[in-house]
């Protein structure tokens, strides 16, 4: 039984890592342009397809595939920002929200058109599926890499945002765009950079998702994107640490719900996830680490 619980914890940690990666990027984009970007999960999907259909198919080794996928995610997010979101930067918030829904549907449909909706089986090169015994639970090399890569990414991201000139400029821009402009900060470029960073993390999550579950399809980004949104809200929208925490909590909760409840409830996992969201927001309206609205201004 305890090995079973441990196994569930590990599965939750792995799933939570992927949610955290997507949620942190989502939150980063939100905090700099106040955009609820529903297309963010689809960037993860594009990352997954480029990983498996292009880079892995070309026989590249993993140490090339990972940076290449990061680059694709960054480029796709930056291009979407430039083409779609930048022209309506001054428009009301709801316009951006609707637009992102449109972009999401567009990407999914183009994906179906070009690649068919049929899920395809994929796998990462190398010995990533090797099983290890961990106090009775089963862990693959890939699981370990997913958790380690996520923690490293979150650490690097934290250092970037806290210490670097560009990272500080992102925080300044997210607080007060016009004051940032008066400092000489090129806010358009800073915003594009924030999308690129978020996109890179989403791309990485897509790679992990495909590698872990062995299947990719053009709609695969939608539900994780939605869950990342939930994770970001649970953590406190705009707080990167909150988004990461929310991602892990959500991953854990989801696995626990599926693992602990009788199997006939398994298909209601998403209902439980959203129930959890509502519960958290009832108790803590600003999320776990979010600031009150008046402080955020």
């Amino acid at each position: 039984m305890s090995a079973y619980v441990l196994q569930q914890l590990i599965n939750g940690l792995v799933l939570g890592s992927m949610y955290a990666l997507v949620a942190v990027g989502f939150s980063m984009i939100y905090s700099i342009v106040r955009l609820i970007n529903f297309a963010h999960g689809d960037v993860a999907m594009i990352g997954a397809f480029s990983t498996f259909l292009v880079f892995a198919a070309a026989g590249l080794p993993l140490w090339v595939i990972v940076p290449a996928t990061l680059a694709v995610g960054a480029a796709v997010a930056a291009i979407i920002e430039f083409l779609v979101f930048r022209p309506q930067r001054q428009a009301p918030q709801v316009n951006g929200f609707i637009t992102s829904l449109g972009v999401s549907i567009l990407i999914q449909n183009v994906g179906i058109l070009l690649l068919s909706a049929q899920p395809r089986s994929v796998r990462l090169p190398g010995l990533l599926r090797t099983n290890h015994d961990f106090f009775g639970a089963r862990v693959t090399t890939l699981d370990i890499l997913i958790v380690a890569a996520t923690l490293i990414s979150l650490l690097v991201l934290t250092l970037f945002v806290k210490r670097t000139r560009l990272g500080i400029a992102m925080r300044a821009t997210s607080e007060n765009v016009s004051a940032a402009q008066l400092m000489g900060i090129p806010v358009n470029r800073v915003i594009t950079a924030a999308f690129a960073v978020g996109g890179a993390l989403a791309g990485l999550a897509g790679l992990m998702w495909g590698g872990r579950y062995g299947q990719i399809d053009p709609l695969m980004g939608f539900v994780p994107g939605l869950k990342a949104f939930v994770a970001a809200v649970i953590g406190g929208v705009g707080s990167l640490a909150g988004a990461a925490l929310g991602g892990y909590l959500l991953g854990m909760a989801e696995i626990m719900i599926v693992g602990m409840l009788p199997s006939e409830y398994g298909s209601y996992r998403d209902a439980f996830v959203f129930g959890l969201l509502i519960l958290v927001l009832l108790v803590m309206p600003n999320g776990l680490l979010g600031k009150p609205a008046e402080e955020r201004a």
């Binding site: 500080i168 400029a169 925080r171 300044a172 004051a179 940032a180 008066l182 400092m183 000489g184």
Partner: protein, 258 residues
């Protein structure tokens, strides 16, 4: 007037459906302190924002005497205007509350790549020792006066040739205002030109060489600061001193009975 550093000619600026600046012309000479006075909603902030590129004029021109010749500002992005040597310290200070004092100063020097940034920070910490004490604190935790010192220093970190200040006295205690205005005079003495927007006309006219008055988006009065301080309409509207048109003599205060 010395050679113009900044020349604004007949700008018309709209915000949404309303015209907020109507044919505004003014100039700021090299080494001067020039004040722009006016009441709430007169168009002072809009004037500064148009100069610094946050707003675009529908017509008119803005020319800055750059290091390598005159430059038209009207089509430049804000960061390029900062690069030319214009710093705009915005209304209400607008320090980055979630950033530390040090990070705010770093952002002020965003476009600089020289090795003097640390030395400049050190220099301003000497001038405002309180900022050194607060260096690692979030700017949002500072008092209003400390935030003003930070906003002023942050603007200076770009080493501007023209410093534009939007109501630096707003909401501050008299001693703090005195301290800020002393610094403004020192800044000018060290060679930086100052364009000062104020509702506090008494303070502004004390330090300024020349001044403009703006009402309803139009410049209505301009002249030397000392002349404006004696101008009956300025005294009445902006200095709160009632005057009689004929003699300019002050009416004695009315008896207040209880």
């Amino acid at each position: 007037m010395p050679d113009a550093l900044l020349k604004v000619e007949s700008i018309n600026v709209w915000r949404g459906a309303s015209q907020v600046l109507n044919d505004v012309s003014l100039s700021v000479g090299q080494g001067e302190i020039v004040a722009l006075l006016g009441g709430n909603g007169a168009g002072k902030t809009s004037t500064l924002s148009t100069i610094s590129g946050l707003l675009r004029p529908k017509s008119g021109s803005i020319t800055f005497a750059g290091e390598s010749g005159p430059v038209s500002l009207t089509s430049l992005r804000p960061e390029n205007i900062v690069k030319l040597g214009i710093a705009h310290c915005p209304e209400g200070r607008q320090v980055f509350g979630g950033l530390s004092v040090m990070e705010n100063l770093r952002m002020g020097a965003y476009l600089r790549h020289d090795d003097q940034i640390g030395a400049d920070v050190e220099h301003y910490f000497e001038l405002f020792p309180i900022l050194r004490e607060r260096a690692d604190l979030k700017a949002g935790q500072l008092s209003g006066g400390e935030q003003m010192m930070l906003a002023l220093t942050r603007a200076l970190m770009s080493r501007p040739r023209l410093l534009m200040l939007d109501e630096p006295s707003l909401g501050l205690a008299p001693q703090v205002i005195d301290q800020i205005f002393d610094r403004i005079e020192e800044i000018r003495a060290q060679g930086t030109t100052v364009f000062l927007v104020e509702q506090n006309a008494a303070m502004a006219l004390e330090v300024a060489d020349r001044a403009y008055v703006i009402e309803n988006g139009k410049i209505t009065i301009s002249g030397n600061a000392s002349e404006l301080a004696e101008d009956p309409s300025v005294r009445e509207a902006y200095l709160g001193i009632e005057t009689t048109q004929a003699t300019g003599a002050e009416i004695p205060p009315m008896e207040t009975s209880s």
